[in-house]
């Protein structure tokens, strides 16, 4: 049915309107006056019944198009069933119109009256539009009619607003961000679905619990301060805070914005707010920051490495120069010294008849002094060579090494009445010459620093823990004070005067250096007047074939 005019049926006044409109539409559609009266009467009868027994009854007048014919149609509808009390009215109306039907649907019940149009072909769509226009602009039939019309208009508007509001609600609910509005008393009046789902709360709860429950503990105080300040200033507010997601319990970074809405008098009437997920952006920011820091650290590292490289090169050069110097100095020092020996010998030999006994004594002292210098130079030379040379490693049986040393020192051992004992020694990876030098220095020291009237007892033992060999050279000599146990390995360190014990103060430095070249260690303990123990630690497996001494 094409609707033309609508009348709300509430009271007697409406009945008059219903009758008059029905009359008018019949007139417009070309019914005779008799027909107009009949139809309007039938409509009035049913409408009266609806007013009396119904609740929200309305009358709709319109044109219905059949297959070939057109009808004027009056439809009286209500949400409650008024038809049971309308039997009499219906039978009366039946006599006045072509057709009457009762239709029940889910939402309402209708009594429809139909009368075929005499000149159906002339009632075109545009004609119908003109009828609609007529009723819309029809001068009010009465003060009541005017009121009624205004009322209808208002209801229409309200319906439209509801629809529009509904649209907006659907829109805000489907947006992937949290929205809310707050009235000027600070009460939250609206929250969208996203907010309710995310925070797991409804406006009422949000008001009573405030925001504390939904914000990260360390963000809350800043949030509170900012929002108070913003409310006082009555100006918009933005901030980044972590909000707790109800579903996961995780805190997620959001941008919180609140905007005050003002009326025409510039007074804030309410606030609207948005909370947008910015965790992705935060992550990007953090990653960028991390990358930047990483880059800085890398640069720093690179600089440090360059610096280190430069230092290493410098150190190597300086070491090399030092070695060259030590080597050349000792070599070039040897030369004049040798001549000194040679000439004093020639002097004694060839000119013995011209030099008296005192002169020979002086010559001997001179040769002895030169001898000490030669010893010093030789020790220095071998120490500087230890720094320099690439040493070749092979399997060394320390049993052989120590036996050989004992043989070589045989004369001194006999002289001092000494006893040198050694237990089963291990096979190690090392340089045989250097290891020999190490042990010969230690054993010679033990023989040298023996007590005057006690025969030296030297014991060499070996232990292992699987990772290292621990070789100990123990004697019953004069010992030294514990406080010197580190210092004695320093270059030129001496604990005695030359008159007591001759020496250069280089021997133990050489031992230390040799132990280090074998990735090992050397240390000493002692008790004055009782013993000294020198412990050498050597790795069980030396993997490298050769070692570049640094």
């Amino acid at each position: 049915m094409k609707e033309i005019v609508k009348v709300k049926l509430e009271n007697e006044m409406d009945l008059i309107l219903a009758h008059k409109r029905a009359m008018k539409l019949c007139e417009l559609t070309g019914f005779s006056l008799i027909n107009q009266t009949s139809i309007a009467t039938a409509v009035s009868e049913i409408a009266r019944c609806a007013i009396e027994h119904g609740q929200n009854a309305i009358l709709l007048l319109g044109i219905e198009s059949g297959v070939t014919k057109k009808f004027l149609k009056a439809s009286i509808r209500d949400t409650i069933d008024f038809t049971q009390r309308a039997g009499e009215a219906c039978s009366y109306a039946k006599r006045l119109v072509d057709d009457i039907e009762i239709v029940r649907s889910g939402k309402d019940i209708q009594i429809n009256l139909k009368q075929q149009l005499n000149f159906g072909g002339t009632i075109t769509d545009s004609k119908i539009e003109s009828f609609i226009g007529y009723f819309k602009n029809e001068p009010p039939l009465s003060a009541y009619d005017e009121l009624r019309r205004k009322n209808l208009l208002l209801q229409d508007l309200a319906e439209k607003i509801r629809d529009s509001e509904n649209d907006y609600r659907i829109l805000t609910d489907s947006l992937p961000l949290m929205m809310f509005s707050v009235n000027n008393r600070g009460v939250i009046t609206y929250t969208n679905k996203w907010l309710q789902d995310f925070l797991g709360t409804v406006p009422k709860e949000l008001n009573s619990n405030a925001w504390q429950n939904f914000l990260h503990p360390s963000d809350y105080s800043a949030f509170g301060k900012e929002i108070t300040a913003s409310v006082q200033r009555q100006s918009p507010f933005n901030g980044q805070y972590r909000f707790k997601e109800k579903a996961t319990g995780n805190f997620i970074w959001h941008m919180f914005s609140a905007i005050p809405l003002k009326n025409e008098k510039e007074i804030v009437t309410r606030w609207i707010g948005f909370i947008v997920d910015i965790s992705a952006q935060k992550q990007v920011d953090q990653t960028l920051k991390d990358n930047k820091e990483l880059k800085e650290i890398q640069d720093q590292l690179f600089n440090n490495q360059e610096e280190l490289q430069r230092k290493v090169v410098e150190l190597n050069r300086s070491n090399y120069e030092l070695e060259q110097f030590a080597h050349l100095a000792s070599h070039d020092l040897q030369e004049p010294l040798r001549k000194l020996f040679f000439y004093s010998d020639v002097l004694k030999r060839k000119f013995s008849d011209k030099i008296d006994e005192a002169g020979v004594g002086i010559l001997n002292n001179m040769t002895a002094a030169a001898g000490r210098m030669k010893e010093l130079i030789n020790d220095l030379l071998s120490y500087s060579q230890l720094q320099k040379q690439q040493i070749v490693f092979e399997d060394v049986d320390l049993n052989d090494t120590i036996s050989d040393i004992i043989k070589d020192l045989d004369l001194t051992i006999k002289e001092k009445n000494a006893v040198v004992k050694f237990a089963e020694m291990p096979n190690v990876r090392g340089n045989p010459l250097r290891l020999r030098q190490l042990f010969i220095n230690l054993i010679s020291n033990s023989l040298k620093y023996s007590k005057k009237d006690v025969a030296p007892q030297i014991e060499i033992t070996s232990e292992t823990d699987g990772g290292n060999y621990y070789i100990r050279v123990k004697d019953n000599g004069i010992g030294f004070e514990e406080q010197y146990s580190e210092r004695i390995f320093g270059l030129f360190e001496r604990l005695h005067t030359r008159n007591e014990f001759p020496g250069t103060g280089i021997g133990l430095s050489i031992c230390k250096r040799i132990a280090e070249l074998h990735q090992g260690k050397i240390s000493a303990t002692s008790k004055v007047g009782e013993y000294s123990i020198f412990s050498i630690e050597l790795p069980v497996v030396g993997k490298k074939e050769t070692v570049e001494a640094d």
């Binding site: 070599h331 030369e335 040798r338 001549k339 020996f341 040679f342 010998d345 020639v346 040379q389 010459l433």
Partner: protein, 133 residues
């Protein structure tokens, strides 16, 4: 006269030339010895006299010398077709074992550390003389 030199002493130390020449005089062979100051001169000298097929019967070679040192000289001699069979005795202040082994492996017949006493020197000079017999 030049062609009669049978021992070539290569040493930058003039004092050692004097000491050696004293010894050589003592044993009466001072006229059969020629002295040069470094390896370069030694090689030049030997290449020259080699043309007359008059190579020295012994070269006494110091190690530490300017311009061309002892090891370089030895290496050159051993690589030279004409000089490779001339015996070389190293005569050096250095007691370094590594240096000694290196020289012997390069083909020196002996390695002597310069003497610190008259008798030591005398033994060495007698060894030198044995190459002339």
């Amino acid at each position: 006269m030049e062609n009669n030199y049978e021992i070539l002493v290569v040493d930058d130390d003039r004092e050692d030339h004097l000491i050696l020449s004293e010894y050589f005089r003592d044993i009466g062979i001072e006229n059969r010895v020629h002295y040069v100051e470094n390896g370069k001169y030694a090689l030049e000298y030997m290449e020259k006299i080699a043309l007359d097929n008059k190579l020295p019967r012994l070269v006494i070679l110091d190690l530490n010398m300017p311009i061309m040192n002892g090891t370089q000289t030895l290496l050159h001699m051993k690589q030279s077709f004409r000089l490779k069979n001339v015996p070389v005795i190293i005569f050096s202040t250095s007691e370094n074992e590594t240096e000694k082994r290196k020289c012997l492996s390069l083909g020196a017949v002996d390695y002597l550390v310069k003497p610190v006493s008259y008798n030591e020197g005398l033994l060495m000079v007698n060894k030198f003389r044995s190459f002339l017999e």
